[in-house]
Amino acid sequence: MDDKKELLKEQLYQACEENLEGPDETAYSRSFSQDDLQSLSICRELKIDLKTLMGLVQSLTNDRRFIPLQSATGPVWRLRPEEEANKYRGLEKDQVLVYSWIDNAGGEGIWQQTLRNKTGITQDQQFKNILKQLEAKRLITSFMSVQNASHKCWIKASIKPSIKATGGPWYADGDLDESFINILLNVVFDFIKDQGSYSTRGSGGAPKGASTSPVLPKKVLKGKESEVAIAARGKKRDADAITNDDESTPLKARRSNGQQRILLPMPAGYSNYITLAEITERIAAANITRGTKLKESDVKQLLDVLMYDGRIEEIKVGRRVGYRAVRISKHDPSNFVPGSVPAYDLPSNGLTEAPCGRCPVFELCEEGGPVWAGGCEYFDEWLA
């Protein structure tokens, strides 16, 4: 009887193994319900009744080759590979208890504190000993989770912590590798900028110093030709003198800046903006990620950040989704070092330039209050 049972057990396990699908890493995550087991060909051919089947399952569970789980529809079982099951051999009872929890936690790992609560081993020394013994047998290993930096977690030595636990390629030893990310951001940005712009020697750009921004005449409030305004004019060119430059300078400027390199936007419908796949490929080819291979989803994360930073935009031409840099003509390619933070003039407006826009006590500022415009030292500084 026992021999027969042993044989049936092996046959059942093998039948289940044959029913696994997909690549090796994920195959063992398939779970079998009672119905699944009963509909296996072996059960039908040998007419194994339910009672025998349950006996076999129980026996396999004891052998650690079946992992019992609870699902919404009732109990299910998952297979454990033979070699994994073998690791349970030669372990003491407490060690088995601890190891099975760690084993079941999989790639996520399990926090030491949780482990202790679940196993119910109350004695601190004993618990630590067990972990130490298991570690010595090279069955388990510890790591720090990214989610909770102070949590020491345990995982089977044979597998690597999951991305959720390590944070993916952006983390080195549990810390966010910010310099790595920043370099990659700049590299990706360079790729995008290079392929999505047209580099030429100064023509068609705005003449330096004469922008379209409205430079207003002095003495705006009076709106009159007061003596004050006339006197002020002695020192600076007035608004219209500057605006009128627009008419004549494109040609003049072109001559003087003739040798300066500038970037121009591509015409509408340009179908060669770099795509996600191309960027991923180029990063891999450039071999700048220290052996970690970046997947498209990782690169997409970088692209998202660049978009949130307002440095690039997504552009759909036909079916092709490409990326291009914004404010391209504002980039100065002449003093450009690849991979560095690009020369980038930040936009400004009335509030950011004025002392009030960056005043730490702006809320308190009040005529007759402790802070007021007349005695404001930020104004003193600004007007000096």
Partner: protein
């Protein structure tokens, strides 16, 4: 036209009036702002001023359109009410003059200046004043004097050009005034316009109610409502009659077109009206002259449209490039002919938001300055890298999805129509071919006036137009929806969905402030929130690729500054922090209102500081104010005193310059 007057905004209006019209009017305005509608007697009591003085002050305010007044027909009491809209616009006077000068020339600027200085003016007085101050009185009114387009553009426009300027006739001035009215920069003033909108409405209401002596019942109510709305609109539109009369000649007529083409440059076109057939427009002109009793004032709503064009050009210049911005400017000029204000009244059903006015490529080309080098400013990749179908994509309807974030906007594309491929291909190839031949020698073209060179050996008009179209297509393709390619008539129809565009511009201004205050990381976090809506505390670090601690610090910093809000959602009844979700979000409306108020406050502070600086240099300024010193400060003041005076002027120009920059911000956040 309606905006909330905060404490800071009120303070700002009062300061502006004080700066320009003195203590008394500003004091009265201040009382009107704080107490609301008042009679002369009430004003006298509150200000402890004699009624005589109150009347003096009110006269100034009325003259400058700064108060509404309304006389009740029942008890013939007159009530005054502050017009904060006009008061705020004082700060824009300089900008408007500058803009008028740039777009319509020197003469137009002078006229607007005259009208602005006196609030409102009779047509006759404008002509008289103009002739008196600029140019000798011409005897013959028949317009035989030489045209003014000899006036070089490069001249200092503020120069008192009276010495050299050719003679100007009254007709010419009238012509210019008529043009300004047709454009809408000047508007005829009727007594009704000095009444507050509420008063007009209640009066109309009262009038119409006479038809229902027994009160309104049931259906009558709705009927009555709509009649009131219609009548009010009719009253408002009454001032448009003159504009409509003048429009055919000055904006759409053959004369207007010819004038532009003949001169090439629009800034000149304005004063060069003389070569037109005088009979052609004698009619509306004489009309205007006969009715010289008509009062004119500056229409700030239309001026805002012009200022908005300028700001948007700058926006394009910043985002795409100089040349494209010039093309965009031409496009906006063409388009704004059809726009009378920036934010159309939602009640006005004559404007269909689904069908905004459009302009065609040909129309735009008429407005393109000859000096704009349309062959530059865009890269020149090989032709096979261009997807023509995508570039020429036509979107007939404005983007419907009012997306949460600026990123969301351009995903939701309404119906897209594919134009006929072969046809367009031809045009494109043509455009690129040109490109190749002219790209190289562009730099060689010299001479101060590009137009003349081009005429002989340069590209033809059609080629230029094709290249200009490329700039428009580039604008249409941009993630920021500068223009929408809305049709294919006349080589393409174009429109601007201002509401969506201005919203992006607002975000841009906010972003600038955020980036400046909280750095790039702060901006990144805010943009994530704007794109995604409400987000759990824990999800943010992964999205922003930032350290958890850094994220928290930034978020709290920004929350304290009022840019962010957090909502706590407890997961159970205990409300402990560990069992609570913290959802961050970005409240667009609140942030805008706050920033706007901060901007008012900053403006107020700048003006206050100016007063203090003036107090510091009081003794010198009092000398400068003397009539015998004015105009010859350098000779009359001693060296030290003159230097000090110069210092003050420097400080003054910095402060006022900053105020006008702050006003740029207010315009974007509130008015455009």
């Amino acid at each position: 036209m309606s905006w909330q007057v905060t404490k800071n905004a009120a303070e700002l209006c009062v300061l502006l009036i004080r700066e320009l019209y003195g203590q008394l009017p500003s004091r009265i305005f201040e009382i009107l702002m704080s107490t609301g509608r008042s009679t002369v007697q009430q004003l006298g009591r509150i200000s402890s001023t004699s009624l005589r003085n109150v009347r003096h002050g009110l006269a100034v305010l009325v003259q400058q359109n700064l108060v509404y007044h309304y006389t009740d027909s029942d008890n013939s009491r007159t009530i005054y009410e502050a017009n904060h809209y006009y008061a705020y616009n004082i700060v824009r006077n300089g900008k408007i003059l500058d803009c008028t000068h740039r777009n319509y020339g020197e003469a137009a600027k002078r006229i607007v200046h005259l009208v602005m200085a006196s609030g409102h003016m009779r047509v006759g007085s404008i002509v008289d004043a103009y002739l008196k101050s600029h140019g000798k009185l011409a005897n013959n009114v028949n317009g035989s004097s030489e045209p003014t387009n000899g006036h070089e553009n490069g001249d200092d426009p503020f120069d008192d050009a009276a010495e050299e300027e050719p003679q100007i006739s009254g007709y010419q001035v009238l012509d210019d005034i008529a043009h300004l009215v047709a454009i809408g920069i000047l508007e005829p003033l009727s007594p009704k316009m000095l009444q507050s909108p509420e008063d007009i409405k209640s009066e109309v209401d009262k009038d119409l109610m006479k038809a229902y002596p027994s009160g309104l019942r049931g259906k009558q109510k709705g009927e009555h409502e709509s009649r009131v709305v219609n009548t009010v609109r009719e009253i408002r539109n009454r001032s448009q009659h003159l504009k409509m009369q003048l429009e055919p000649t000055y904006l759409y007529g053959s004369g207007a077109k010819r004038r532009k083409l003949a001169n090439g440059d629009r800034t000149h076109g304005f004063s060069a009206a003389n070569d037109d057939d005088p009979i052609e427009k004698l009619n509306p002109l004489t009309n205007l002259y006969v009715q010289d009793g008509i009062l004119l004032r500056v229409n700030y709503e239309k001026c805002l449209v012009e200022l908005r064009n300028q700001r948007l050009c700058q926006f394009v210049d910043d985002n795409i490039g100089y040349t494209t911005a010039q093309v965009y400017g031409a496009m906006l000029t063409a388009l704004s002919k059809k726009l009378s204000c920036c934010q159309p009244d939602p009640q006005d059903d004559s404007i269909d938001p689904m069908n905004p006015p459009t302009v065609t490529t040909i129309e735009i080309f008429e407005y393109l300055k000859a000096s704009v080098d349309v062959f530059g400013g865009i890269g020149k990749p090989s032709t096979d890298q261009i997807n023509v179908t995508s570039a020429e994509k036509v979107e007939r309807n404005p983007p419907s999805g009012d997306g949460d974030g600026d990123e969301a906007g351009y995903d939701a594309q309404a119906s897209i129509e594919e134009p006929d491929d072969d046809d367009v291909d031809m045009e494109m190839v043509n455009g690129h071919h040109l490109n190749g031949t002219h790209g190289g020698d562009d730099g060689e073209v010299s001479g101060q006036n590009g137009t003349k060179k081009y005429e002989g050996l340069g590209p033809t008009k059609a080629e230029r137009m094709q290249r200009m179209r490329q700039h428009l297509l580039l604008l249409a393709e941009s993630g920021i929806q500068f223009v929408r390619h809305s049709g294919t008539r006349d080589q393409g129809e174009w429109t601007v969905d201002f509401e969506i565009l201005i919203r992006q511009l607002r975000f841009l201004e906010l972003d600038t402030i955020i980036e400046d205050t909280f750095g790039r990381e702060g901006l990144r976090l805010i943009k994530i929130l704007r794109a995604k809506g409400k987000i759990d505390d824990k999800a943010l670090p992964t999205m922003a690729l930032m350290q958890k601690g850094d994220v928290h610090m930034k978020m709290v910093e920004m929350e304290l500054a009022g840019f962010l809000d957090v909502q706590e959602v407890p997961r159970d009844n205990n409300r402990v922090a560990a069992r609570t979700l913290f959802l961050w979000f970005f409240d667009e409306h609140r942030t805008l209102t706050r920033t706007l108020d901060n901007t008012y406050k900053a403006m107020v502070r700048h003006l206050q500081r100016l007063e203090v600086e003036g107090q510091k240099k009081k003794n010198i300024l009092s000398i400068v104010e003397r009539t015998d010193v004015q105009g010859m400060e350098q000779e009359k003041l001693s060296g030290d005193a003159f230097n000090e005076y110069q210092q003050f002027l420097d400080i003054q120009s910095r402060l006022l310059g900053q105020v006008s920059k702050l006003d740029d911000l207010v315009s974007v956040l509130r008015d455009y």
